[in-house]
Symmetry: C2
């Protein structure tokens, strides 16, 4: 694997885009950064709440990680920081800790998942993302979105309590339904309705009013910011907290985050280890799929290993600057891209604007209702639901559909971490199951060509003396014995057989167990008076077989092409047509 | 899978061989049974000792299981009963129990592994044996043989103590070396030397004296019986136990086993569950490889699922008749076959002779020295060492060699159970690793044929406008993204490309993730102005793809054969030769 991945030589990414950086590009990056910041401020607060952490932790997680990513990341448009799924996972991981230790625990989580990502990235283990299949990702995201909606219902209803699975959350909501705070409900539903309307009609309306399509869409994205400002003002002037008991964010300390390495007992690290590993993995997979989508649009390529390290360093930065685990955000990256960001300078500027927010904006956010934040989160989650894709997956392949379905159920019943493992293990198991019986079919010549195809599917030329079995898979321990069985069956069905050709166009690999089976097959065919030949053997496989005694023992020959084999072994070109006749004698 | 295995229709195996059973066949079965019994008596005592159980447990395990297997087994020659590896595993599983509970625990182990085998057999899970690759089996058997030798050294030295890993056993021997009993040492070494000499020279000597080759070999196999008789007599007449402290078997209750179902607390079952499952799995894999070897010699076939159930019922029989876990014995089955056994009646007769032994022979076995039994075990283990095969495996394939080596080390360091899991997981992981990068090569036409081969290996005809990438593997989630990368690289290298043909002779399966990747590839190629075509697509895969929108979106065509595709797309047959020239314009 090393020789392939080393293609991506290390060049400090910053050097690439600094070359030829100009005032025009800066203007574009600046504008994109303004728009992303306007989106990021409410998200940072909302996701911190989702993670069960104070608001400032969300803001801190949106400063230093962005600076670091700008210098080490391999994507030009990825916007890192707090995200919904990772915040939910953080909340679950910290649930067992006493409240006063959670901020500290969150920093430890970020540091640990950062260190793990860096180490795995250096070990070039970026390929592990390939084990998380697309159906698992879709099912997982959809399931997590529902779980997050359930977890935010309490804020919309203005009630307390919690839980970590969908069932627990639903039960808590059900039992406390009587305590619903009407004002919270009005704010929450109002925010969701407002966002829905702006997203659907504002862009269209602006476009009709003569605003260009792209700016119209970006303005429509500012809905969350408007919702935050309007509901905060309402809460302040109407004293919704004091009079109606509407829960608000409360005091947020202003100022920049302090740098400090979180140090704790070994036991503390150990308890959070598994959660940190899963947060790292899920964050990486999620970031990569966003980064790759953006890279495809701009025709650039992303190196999984470099990206893994970059995400690791960014998480490390989040951990030592009072933040919590971060990853690439799909929504903000997409906005960053559409707003015209050209280089990671946009990320640096976003970080600078967040510093301004941390220094001067916090007093204004004091009155922000939690119901507003819950409304923002719930609305964002609606966009993550992707039942249509799940249904299409199920229609295409039962196995993939079942994997997706079970992953989805696992998210709701057991929570996020466990579900990823369920999905990965299931898809692996189903894949292995599909390779257990090597696909092997008898083939014959397609009339008038040198092309050989499945005798059961096509009207091809065959004869009773020389048969060809095309093996469509690499042979390894788990499927080698089935090949023995398959050939025993061919032998049983073909009393006149004198030569059996194994056509190997798809055999990339024969392991020691399979070699053993081939030796046995050769021996058994020999004692039945049938010669075993090989055709279209890959050169690599042939070289490998030469290290064993296989070719010495082989009763037949090795042919370059299947047609060559047939021409050499068949008594007459059209023998098959007379076989019935010959039989009569 | 169901439709394939159902080929083995259930016919009570007994009916097959009872048909046409004659006096001649009976004589042959009778003779084989006598010879097997003479081998089995000392083995039953020795393996019971190896399992840390009283001698009669070994005898009981050699009666009812043989009867049951005769009626339900699918092999005509397999001789079930106590075996070395399973006895060792039993000893390890029972080590934690107080001594007085071990006989009972052994029965529970047999019942549980029996029930599991029956259930798995009914679920047609016989295929799980395929996951234990040949290198793992060789390494495992060799490692276990060494471990057993270590565990028996104490009896040859006449010392006490024990351990469950090679290290613990070696340490115990080392620390107690000073307490060596000279007589035990003489008996032990004497027995091993005697067996070595008879095996090597007796058959040859008898053959020279005019005895036919086959009977000569069988007589030479009687060495263990002679050793037992001679050393027992010596111990009795010279009172080696009383005078020199030589440890002997001691009182063995005579009589037939009583039938009783062992019942215990739930916790007791739970503690032994994992050990029982591994004993069942290892016993099954071991039995199957013996049964298949014998079946190949006599041109019959073994059904893994039926065999799994048969072994399960036999273990159940062992458990309810005072025995302990059993499986098919390689040495006794081979003797049974060479001694001329024709039907399972030989097994029934062996069981009958063992009843006679249990009733009348036990008083004579009282004085049998433990050192004799240890000598028998050690000698048997020498024959299991197979370093040559391990070395050959390593030479053939590094991956297989490493798996074998690590399994071997795991047996010695961690014990038998854990090592099997290590081996299975390792071989699986290495196999998956080999499929992570789909083998895909550019191919060109082999001059004068319709055959297409690797451009890097052969001097084939190519051109700069139409290229063909042959995909040699099924596409699934773990390798789909690498294909995207591979095609991106081809695109980068080929500025003049107008058509890319994906030749799919080896693609048996495209899962939902891979479909997704193919869609992206099609889109990316399209935006680069390159059409994507497919050739030699399997019909099954084509049918499946029709359930998606793939063919609607495909920019190019689907060709039946690669040659057809090239003929249709290539502007002139020999274009490639002029491509430089064309380029000049």
């Amino acid at each position: 694997m090393a020789e392939k991945t080393s293609k991506f030589k290390y060049r400090p990414p910053a050097l690439e885009w600094l070359k030829g950086y100009s005032g025009g590009v800066f203007t574009e990056d600046f504008l994109a950064a303004v728009i992303v910041t306007v989106l990021l401020v409410p998200q940072a607060l909302a996701y911190a709440m989702l993670a069960g952490l104070p608001a400032q932790v969300g803001i801190y997680a949106s400063i230093l990680p962005l600076v670091i990513y700008a210098f080490v990341g391999s994507s030009r448009h990825l916007s890192v920081g707090p995200t919904a799924v990772i915040s939910l996972m953080t909340a679950v991981a910290l649930a067992a800790l006493p409240e006063e230790q959670r901020v500290f625990g969150a920093a430890i989580l970020a540091v640990m998942s950062g260190v793990m990502l860096v180490i795995f990235g250096l070990m070039r283990a970026g390929f592990i993302m390939n084990f998380v299949s697309r159906p698992v990702v879709s099912a997982y995201v959809t399931g997590a979105a529902i779980l997050i909606v359930f977890s935010q219902l309490r804020h919309v209803l203005g009630i307390t309590g919690g839980g970590s699975t969908a069932l627990e959350l639903a039960k808590n909501v059900w039992e406390n339904l009587g305590k619903t705070n009407a004002v919270a409900l009005i704010v929450g539903i109002g925010v969701i309705t407002f966002l829905r309307l702006t997203r659907t009609y504002l862009a269209y309306g602006l476009y009709k009013l003569g605003v260009k399509r792209k700016p119209a869409r970006l303005i429509a994205r500012m809905g969350p910011f408007v919702a935050v400002v309007v509901t905060s003002l309402a809460a302040y002037f109407m004293d919704l907290n004091g009079v109606y008991g509407l829960r608000i964010v409360g005091d947020i300390p202003s100022g920049l985050p302090r740098l400090s390495v979180p140090v704790a007992d070994m036991a503390f690290y150990r308890d959070l280890m598994a959660a940190a590993a899963l947060i790292g993995l899920v964050g990486f997979v999620d970031s990569m799929s966003t980064a790759q989508t953006l890279a495809a649009r701009s025709r650039t390529r992303i190196s999984p290993n470099r990206e893994m390290r970059a995400l690791g360093y960014s998480n490390l930065a989040a951990g030592i600057s009072g933040g919590y685990p971060i990853n690439g955000s799909m929504s903000r990256s997409a906005v960053n891209y559409s707003a015209g960001a050209k280089t990671p300078v946009a990320g640096l500027l976003t970080a600078a604007f967040m510093c301004v927010a941390a220094l001067f904006l916090t007093p204004f956010l004091r009155y922000l209702p939690l119901a507003t934040l819950a409304g923002l989160i719930i609305f964002a989650c609606f966009n993550l639901l992707d039942f249509k894709h799940l249904w299409r997956t199920f229609k295409y392949s039962r196995a993939d559909g079942i994997t997706a379905y079970l992953t989805f159920v696992a998210v709701l019943v057991f929570g996020v971490e466990f579900a990823v493992l369920v999905g990965v293990i299931l898809s692996m198991a189903l894949h292995i199951r599909s390779t257990l019986r090597p696909h092997a079919v008898l083939v014959g010549r397609f009339p008038g060509t040198e092309h050989y195809r499945n005798v059961d599917r096509f009207d091809v030329e065959t004869n009773d003396f020389v048969k060809t079995l095309r093996i469509d898979e690499s042979l390894y321990f788990a499927n080698a014995r089935f090949l023995e069985d398959r050939i025993a069956a061919v032998l049983q069905e073909s009393p006149k057989l004198t030569d059996l050709i194994l056509m190997c166009p798809a055999v990339n690999h024969i392991d020691a167990s399979a070699l053993n089976s081939l030796m046995s097959i050769n021996k058994r065919l020999d004692s039945a008076g049938v010669k075993m030949h090989l055709s279209e053997l890959h050169s690599v496989v042939k070289d490998r077989l030469q290290r064993s005694t296989f070719f010495e023992k082989l009763t037949g020959e090795v042919f370059f092409s299947q047609h060559e084999a047939m021409t050499a072994l068949e008594p007459e070109p059209d023998w098959s047509r007379y076989s019935d006749h010959v039989d009569m004698h």
